[in-house]
Structures are given as structure tokens and as C-alpha cells.
Subunit: 363 residues, 2 copies
């Protein structure tokens, strides 16, 4: 076979691909608490609308996802020109990186948080600044945020993987400290008490990203959106793939958003189970971050009351042997004694606790 | 509202967004022959498989589209590690640009062809070299191709917007002339007599891209794939969005590909209508490029036998008034006397010709 002198872009020299949580091919035999999926299926209205759309798949989708923009604008009391849709919110995070960073324009992120920010800035060849937290409760350090001087700043709120909630007043201070675009990644905000959305009316340089993956049970469909100033939205619209949202995703997302009753009932069930799990951890005497998300970030303790990376890994492996998948983040001292456990159905939470108790007695 | 000092990446200073053909919101009242969609709906098997998958949408998709890779590998007698899936082939073209071009590594394309190549290289900040054709029949100029010295070369085959077919032997010579990655964009190849696929076994630096948008009637679903050397596929896999293909697209594409009987019957109908339209243009004495695609690129003549941009625009506007949408490319002397007309159903082709004949008598 003929060889080539093909060269790879220098921007990719240090690139390491994003590594998602394990997605087993056969999901029926495992309890999957590792990627923060909603344990409930999407609204029955999704089935109907998707089914009706299949016959039209020979035609291209609406390139602007116009219907979805209108519906989301109504939902959030915004103008449609303040909203952009993405093939998952990852698509929109990538657009931010491509529009607002390059060799000269720096990116910053709270570290540790969603590792994809760093992957995306790596592909763009942009310099990423990791801004540390103030303490082990993942409190925000305003001085460190301001001194990053980034043109693009990623803040996950509620925080992942800890689940920590930030008050609106704190986020307002962050907006004042950041001079570039402040992206507030609200992937989990529907499980939290409040959103940073009011700040969109106060600051030109705020962009709030959301996903339908978690709270709307549509991880398998890839729909995210962002809300911000029309100038920012217009810039991102110029760069996004023209048909980034397919027909089925457009009508499926519309149906899911319009069924707010179903949406709220699933949220309530997840939050109820989150409270149940939090109680169970309290009973064990294990510490965890108070969660505004659909997961709990917990520090497992050995029977003699110790926490360590080895202990976290021991529980991770014990659960895996029981076919219970959770997530472990080994790379940072603020995460490596913890496990991140997604909230599942009551029966799954009960089996989780049964397995955890067996581990505590075994150890 | 608080202003910001947000700056846009310098790579986007000269960026102009891709402009797709018009996608009317209400399609039932127009004859849509402007974006090369298949006039037939997808295989009935797509409806079934998509319907069954909706209940699983709360779970993330398979990040590798493993099933699709296997099925496509079997279809094309390749190994699964020679195949990558994309959210439309546009996603894959973008990955090529991101992996194999930057400020130093140049991109080249045959010009005119698919204008998206230039849009994508603009976002990357890469230098695009436009390689002209040898003649008005869109013949390939090997010397010009070789002297581009591009690290990434885009060739649309069959050519768009002309529909011209290139012989495998000619494409082999192009592969010998290009030292970087030669991307052969076979969006329309299912309507043509042969594919460049055999070259994948001869050259490490060939990548063939395909889409299910046209021949499989799935423009609304966004599924494309590329076939090449495992080294190239692996590199692109590292950079692609990890869940770039949603669950419905994965199962829908699988169902469509497995129903080869339906696929072939739609192809046969489109080709029959293409032949019918070609005959009709011959009868009018209008010249057109012999097409290996699902469209015909035709040069309209005024009653006194003249062709000009004004004459092409006159017919374009006449057809639009009759609610028949076709595509006009004003920007290049090799395209601005032509209209590109997608192949529709027999009744649509008949109405098209009726409108064209009325125009010839009016003029």
C-alpha cells in the first residue's frame, strides 16, 4: 500500500480525547449510575411526535430549529434571538471555544470540573487556565477567577462532579470578575433550587448552557441549548453546523419541553430519591456535598473511619462486581477519595445501599 | 446592561457562514428540487426501529456507533476500524479540516464545488487553495492538483454542482498527485456507475466520505460515514464529539442500510426519472453535464438560442413563481449560466417541464 506524507495539525500534538463513563452495550443486566442519566423514559409525547416525523426524513431539517427557539423563548421569557440549539450542549461548548479562543485568546475553567472544556480547547490549540477552588467545598475564588484574564470562562453550576450549588449572588460576582464570555454550564440546574438566568438580563457577556439529556430524559437524543445576548448567539450561529439538529431531535425535544407536567413529575421523583440516598449516607456517617443535581458525590469510609483513594476504588470495584456502575475520578486530590453516584429508581437505590452495606461489613 | 470586552477569534475575521438552499417551513405546497433530497420517504423499517428506540432515549448512545460500523464494514468488505460515523458527512469533513489543517498545513479543493469545504477551513483559520478545472466539462487538472501541495485535498466525485462523473483511473492519478489526505466526497456516488472505494486498498492517504442524506432518503436524520486507513480513522475518532450520533440516528441508519431492496428500488426510480429529464432537455436542445447524481446541471437557452446569467435567473424566477424551487450558483462563470435541478417524482418532473415550456414560449 502506498504510504503518504500526511501531517496532523500541530494543535493536536497534546490532544487527549474525552473519555466518557462506560456505556455498556447490554444495559438490562446492570444498574447504571455512572453517567447521570435520568432513570425514567422521556415523555410519551416524544414517541408520538417522533413517529409522525419519520416519513419526512427524506427532507433536510429546519436549519435554525426555529420552533424550538420559539418554545424555549416562551419557557424562559426571552426573545428567540437569545437562544441557540446544539447537538447536545457539548456542541455549544465547542462553538464557544471556536468563536472566542485561539492561540492568543485564553480559555479558563474551574478545576476540577467537566473535563470536556479542556479537550475542546486542546483541539482548538487554545491555552487553558485551570482556576483552583478556594476550599474542599468547591467554593469559588473570585480573585483567581479575575486574574485568569480569560476571553472565555467555563463555570459548571451546579458544579460537577461535586453537585455543589452556587447562589445567584455569588454568580453575579463571578460575572463582574470575568471580562470575556462567562459560560455558566447549567447541565444539572433543573435539579437545583435556582438558575443564573436572571444574569442574562444584566450582563452582555453571559451565556447559559442547558441540556435535555438529564432532566428531560433525552441523553440518547443529543439536544442542548444556550441563552445569552443576541450578539453572542448570532456569532455562534454563524459558526455552527448548518443542520446541527436533525428532524427527530427537533420534534422530540419540542414534545418533551411542552409536556411540563411529565417533566416535573420525573424531577420530583429524582429529587425524592436523592433525599433518600442522602439520608442513607448520613446514617452511614459518610460525608457528601449537598447536591443540586441528579447525583451525589460521596466520600466512602472504611469501617475504621478512614477515607483514601484506595478505599474509594475498593468500593467502586465492589459495586462493579455487583453490576452497579458508578463513576470514579482518580486525577485530582479533591475528587479521588469520592465516588459520583447518579440517582436511579427506588429499587436501584435500594440495591445500591444493600451492596454498599455488604462492602462495609466485608472490609 | 453591563458591556463586555469579549473578543472574537481572529480566525473568524473573514468567516462567511455556509448558505444552504432554501428550506421552506411549509413544504406541501412547493415542488422542492433545490437541495437534492430524495423524493421518496425512507425504508418502512426505519419507522419500526426508531419507534422501538424512543423508550431508551434516557440513556446515552453508543459512543462509537459500533453496530453501524460493523454493518457498513460488511456492506463494503472493509474492517470496522476503517470506518467512522458522523452527524452528517459535514461532521466528517469538519473533522478532516480540524485534524489535517491549521495555519501551516494548507487545504485545497477543486473550485467550484461544495462551498462548505471553504467555510470549514475558514473557521479553522487554514489557508484554502482553489484549484481550477481544466475545462468547462469540469475535467481534472493533475498538474494544478499536484502543485497545490496541500496537506488536505477535497474532491467531490461525482462532482457537484455539475453531476460530472470521474473514472476510477482518473481518481487513481489524483491520488498519486496528492501527498496529503485526499478526501473523495462521494455524497452522490450511489447514483453513479462506480465508486473510488478500491483506492482505499491502494493508498494510505485516501478517505472516502458518504452520506445517507440522498440515496437513503435520510437528509432529515444527519448520518454520514467515511472509509479510509485505520490510522486516519483513529486520528479522527480522537477528535470527534464523543456522542456525535444519537440513538435514533444509529438505529434508523442501521434499518435503512439493511433494507437494500428498498434502497435499490428508490435508486432505480430516481435514475429512471433522471433519464427522462435528460431526454426532455435534449428535446429542447439544452446542454447539460451527463449526471451520475440525483440532479441535472442544465444550461437554459432563450428562444433565440442564447445562454447567460440573466437567462438562468429568468428561468429560476419563473419556476419560483410556479412554486418550483431549484438552485442557482451566481458566483462562478462555470456555474452562473446553469440551474441545478434535483430529480423528483414523475409528477414533479412533468410539472417542472410544463413550467419550463411555458417559460420558453413566454420569453
Amino acid at each position: 500500500m502506498s504510504k503518504s506524507s500526511l501531517r496532523v495539525s500541530k494543535r493536536l500534538e497534546a490532544h487527549i480525547a474525552y473519555l466518557p463513563g462506560e456505556q455498556p452495550v447490554e444495559t438490562s443486566s446492570v444498574i447504571k449510575l455512572n453517567t447521570n442519566e435520568n432513570p425514567y423514559p422521556p415523555s410519551p409525547a416524544v414517541q408520538t411526535s417522533v413517529g409522525q416525523e419519520v416519513a419526512l426524513l427524506n427532507l433536510y431539517p429546519n436549519p435554525k430549529s426555529s420552533d424550538l427557539r420559539k418554545i424555549l423563548a416562551e419557557l424562559h421569557s426571552l426573545d428567540p434571538n437569545q437562544i441557540i440549539l446544539g447537538n447536545g450542549s457539548d456542541d455549544l461548548l465547542n462553538l464557544c471555544v471556536r468563536c472566542y479562543s485561539d492561540d492568543d485568546l485564553k480559555v479558563a475553567m474551574m478545576y476540577p470540573s467537566y473535563s470536556l472544556y479542556e479537550v475542546l480547547s486542546g483541539v482548538q490549540g487554545s491555552k487553558m487556565i485551570r482556576v483552583p477552588f478556594l476550599d474542599d467545598e468547591f467554593s469559588l475564588n473570585l480573585d483567581a477567577i479575575a486574574s485568569s484574564e480569560a476571553n472565555l470562562f467555563f463555570l459548571t453550576s451546579p458544579h460537577a462532579p461535586s453537585g455543589r450549588v452556587y447562589a445567584l449572588e455569588d454568580l453575579r460576582k463571578v460575572a463582574q470578575a470575568v471580562s470575556g464570555l462567562l459560560v455558566i454550564d447549567e447541565a444539572y440546574v433543573d435539579f437545583a433550587p435556582e438558575s443564573a438566568l436572571p444574569l442574562v438580563h444584566e450582563f452582555e457577556h453571559i451565556l447559559i448552557t442547558r441540556t435535555l439529556s438529564k432532566s428531560y430524559s433525552l441523553a440518547g437524543m443529543r439536544v442542548g441549548y444556550a441563552m445569552g445576548h443576541p450578539k453572542v448567539i448570532k456569532q455562534m450561529d454563524q459558526v455552527r453546523e448548518v443542520y446541527n439538529l436533525d428532524r427527530l431531535a427537533q420534534v422530540g425535544a419540542k414534545a418533551a419541553i411542552l409536556d411540563q407536567e411529565y417533566f416535573r413529575s420525573c424531577l420530583a421523583k429524582v429529587i425524592e430519591q436523592r433525599n433518600w440516598l442522602a439520608n442513607a449516607f448520613n446514617e452511614l456517617g459518610w460525608s457528601f456535598v449537598s447536591s443540586g443535581t441528579n447525583f451525589i458525590f460521596v466520600k466512602p469510609l472504611s469501617p475504621d473511619g478512614c477515607a483514601s483513594p484506595e478505599i474509594a476504588v475498593s468500593l467502586f470495584e465492589h459495586l462493579a462486581a455487583d453490576k452497579i456502575l458508578v463513576r470514579y475520578f482518580s486525577k485530582h486530590p479533591q475528587t479521588n477519595c469520592f465516588l459520583r453516584i447518579s440517582i436511579g429508581k427506588p429499587v436501584e437505590m435500594a440495591m445500591l445501599m444493600k451492596s454498599i452495606k455488604a462492602w462495609t461489613q466485608k472490609a
